[in-house]
């Protein structure tokens, strides 16, 4: 089966069976106990290992374990990390949690929250020939039917991510800490960390991705409102891509205090589709339910949408904001100039023949390669680059459900996305300190790799 992970991840040996020259570089912490020389090892019938000391005493030996995250950070070992990851975060896993909830005593139940990304919603809408709002409402019905308690839309958290990105860019432009490379794509981050570490990471944006902002909002802000601790909430996100599963399992997003992840499970659009099939539900036939909102005041009626590249329009939002903030220029239409190929395009802001802002979008592995090489040689002319591991920036059919033959497929720029000024005005800005507080300690220093979303 072809790997569902992005090309950037596949090339970084994520699922490569170890070649003889490679070694597990992850040291396994073993408690060394003082002993005298030789001991024997006995294997019990159940397969457990016991060390038999010379004086006859026995000690059960622990299996040396390399955790999933160790594997993901490494360049390939004996475990097939991808397949482990997929089993841990799958619709099967969600079903297990929901079943456990049904069987549990009232006080022992977990609050199950699902956050759906606009790209996944758009993909399902195209697949079932519904409009985005109906899709969101019917998905709410479906999820609640199977035991989910709340269904949100991550477009809300994307606002924060975009705002943070905008502010960060202006700050770094003024401080000459350029270029800024966008970081919402975990495939790109994983590749950057593994292969080019020291010279790329300082350039990467420290703004958290919408998925992880949502994680913080749900597990901290929303959980508090429900009078629950973060570990009592099971947070599922629905994303267009498998790489997001990796992002959710990063140690940066693990809450040590409550021993819980900000996002427990990532389902791809395709997996939601499978879930619908397995439950025998036809989405168009469901009654639309009212939409949930993360907090009162957030306009819950229409899921907000964004124009721009399939990834959520980072480039455009940051560009417009920067033009306004830095040069007092109001940009009406953002014009893209394709370069070498359609996945590599640039945007310029000029005034009287002088280039004020030079932005680019680089999607797909080959364009990432060229960008990285230029950076290495100090020849990157851009102030900001929106980088995505997959061609078409994550809005492609690849991981989504396929539109039925004869219907319009979700294209490079999904239909039905309208421009909406970022910000529900005061609501968004008032919530920003909450998000900052939630992310405290991880968002401050642009040079600290652990600040990656």
């Amino acid at each position: 089966m072809a790997s569902p992970f992005s090309g950037a991840l596949q090339l970084t040996d994520l699922n490569d069976f170890i070649g003889p020259s490679q070694e597990c570089i992850k040291p396994v912490n073993v408690e060394k106990r003082l002993g005298s020389g030789v001991a024997k090892i006995r294997i019990e019938d159940d397969g457990s290992y016991f060390q038999v000391n010379q004086d006859g005493g026995t000690r059960r030996l622990e299996k040396a374990k390399v955790s999933l995250n160790d594997c993901l950070a490494c360049s390939g070992c004996v475990t097939s990390a991808e397949t482990v990851l997929i089993t841990q975060q799958s619709h099967e896993e969600l079903k297990k949690v929901l079943d456990a909830n049904r069987a549990a005593a009232p006080g022992q139940q977990r609050l199950v929250v699902v956050s759906v990304s606009p790209q996944s919603r758009a993909s399902l809408a195209a697949r079932f020939q519904l409009n985005p709002t109906d899709t969101a409402r019917k998905l709410t019905t479906f999820f609640k039917k199977i035991g989910v308690h709340f269904v949100f839309d991550t477009a809300f958290s994307r606002n924060f991510s975009l705002l943070e990105s905008q502010r960060e860019f202006v700050r770094r432009f003024r401080g000459q800490a350029l270029p800024v490379l966008a970081s919402a794509c975990p495939g790109w981050i994983c590749y950057a960390e593994k292969t080019h570490g020291s010279f790329i990471l300082p350039h990467i944006s420290t703004a958290r991705s919408p998925q992880q902002v949502m994680g913080s909002l749900v597990k901290d802000f929303f959980a508090q409102k429900q009078h629950l601790t973060p570990d009592k909430v099971y947070h599922v996100t629905v994303m267009p891509c498998y790489d997001k599963k990796l992002e959710a399992s990063r140690p940066d997003f693990f809450n040590q205090e409550h021993q819980t992840r900000d996002v427990d499970c990532v389902l791809t659009t395709g997996e939601v589709f499978k879930l619908l099939e397995e439950e025998g539900v036809s989405l168009p036939d469901l009654e639309p339910a009212p939409l949930d909102s993360l907090c009162s005041g957030a306009s819950a009626e229409e899921p907000t949408s964004h124009r721009g590249g399939g990834s959520g329009g980072y480039l455009e939002h940051v560009f417009r904001h920067a033009a306004r903030e830095l040069f007092g220029i109001q940009v009406a239409e953002v014009t893209y100039k394709p370069l070498r190929n359609k996945d590599f395009q640039e945007v310029t802001l000029e005034r009287e023949g002088q280039v004020l802002l030079h932005f680019a979008m680089a999607y797909g592995f080959r364009n990432i390669q060229n960008l990285v090489q230029r950076l290495k040689r100090g020849r990157c002319p851009y102030h900001y680059v929106e980088v995505m591991a997959c061609p078409s920036g994550g809005s492609r059919e690849g991981q989504h459900t396929r539109a039925l033959p004869g219907t319009r497929a979700v294209g490079h720029r999904p239909a039905g996305w309208e421009w909406e000024e970022v910000g529900h005005g005061r609501l968004v800005t008032s919530l920003l300190p909450v998000v900052r507080r939630l992310g405290q300690g991880t968002c401050c220093d642009p040079c600290v790799p652990s600040a990656l979303p």
């Binding site: 090339l11 970084t12 070498r340 190929n341 080959r366």
Partner: protein
């Protein structure tokens, strides 16, 4: 068959090491060799003997696996196990590193220039084939990363006149690629070999492709265009490739390299049994089912595995070979009488 392949001379090209590959420059006056000693040597004639005119000793941290001259003869590309490909510019006897192509995850196994001189292809143990484009300012940029093979890719070669790329892999297949819109796509997969395909060579017309393998056979594949007279099915507008001849029973070990002389049409093979063989197509053979005869078989051409054979592009019958024993040998091939 006796005396059809005569030794002209030997040079200890990469002492105490393996010599992996050879490449004649387009003018046929220089031979580049590369080896496990991480060096590239350039050989030229002085009277009757071959002497080393230049050594490139800096540039690679590990074995240099292949070298390739650009069609204009002014540049040399070297593919190395250190995961990089260096581009050298020739300035009389000096070579200067113009740029280093990075990006492959691990050992780069092969590099090849397209006939236009604007494109370069590299392939690696990371299973990918990369296509690079060079502009007027000697800037190289990656145009495409192709992940069609499922194993180590051993060799890449360009069609002599079209922008068609072929690759050979440990996955037992040969794949062909062409440009489509702003990207490159795999347009054909040639299956038939039962083991690793080590090398490839196009015939002078570009209508046929020869492949050699660990399965000890050479296969000749022929291109059939859509609407061909022979009724070979094609999908869409892509040509089909069919295996029209298999040479088996001639080699007792893995065949590591194959070279198709662009002047005479003779096929030379480099084998793990230390021998060099030459085949020629029978004069009246059916183009759809060609037959080839063994016209030269030199046992113990080297004292170890022969890694590469290369026909001189200007002098018919002049063949160079190299081996794990570190030596480069020069041969004169003459088609035997009466064949």
């Amino acid at each position: 068959m006796k005396d059809s392949l005569v030794l002209l001379g030997r040079v200890p090209a990469h002492p105490d090491s393996r010599c992996w590959f050879l490449a004649w420059n387009p003018a046929g006056t220089l031979l580049a060799s590369c080896g496990g000693d991480r060096r590239i040597r350039i050989w030229g004639t002085e009277g009757d003997s071959w002497i080393c005119k230049s050594v490139i000793s800096e540039g690679h941290q590990r074995t240099v696996r292949k070298v390739a001259w650009s069609p204009c003869g002014n540049y040399l590309a070297s593919a190395s196990f250190d995961a990089t490909t260096c581009i050298w510019k020739k300035n009389q006897d000096d070579f200067e590193c113009v740029t280093t192509l990075e990006g492959h995850e691990n050992e780069v196994k092969s590099v090849a220039w397209a006939p236009s001189g604007n494109l370069l292809a590299t392939c690696s143990r990371d299973k990918s084939v990369w296509v690079w484009e060079v502009d007027e300012e000697d800037e190289y940029e990656c145009v495409s990363v192709l992940n069609s093979h499922t194993q180590d890719v051993k060799h890449v070669v360009w069609h002599p006149s079209q922008e068609l790329l072929a690759s050979a892999s440990y996955d037992d297949t040969v794949k062909l690629y062409r440009e489509e819109e702003d990207d490159w796509v795999c347009c054909a997969t040639l299956e038939g070999h039962e083991s690793t395909v080590w090398s490839l060579a196009f015939d002078p017309s570009g209508q046929r492709l020869a492949s050699c393998s660990d399965d000890r056979t050479v296969r000749i594949w022929r291109q059939y265009l859509p609407g061909n007279e022979q009724g070979v099915a094609c999908s869409g507008s892509d040509p089909s490739w069919k295996c029209v001849c298999t040479l088996s029973g001639f080699h007792s070990r893995t065949i590591y390299d194959i070279a198709w002389c662009q002047l005479t049409g003779a096929l030379a093979t480099a084998c793990g049994d230390d021998a060099i063989r030459v085949f020629e197509e029978d004069p009246n053979s059916d183009p759809q089912q060609p037959t080839f005869s063994l016209t030269a078989h030199l046992h113990q051409a080297h004292s170890q595995d022969v890694n590469c054979v290369a026909w001189n592009p200007k002098e018919p019958g002049l063949l160079a070979s190299c081996s794990d024993d570190g030596e480069v040998a020069f041969w004169k091939y003459q088609r035997p009488e009466g064949l």
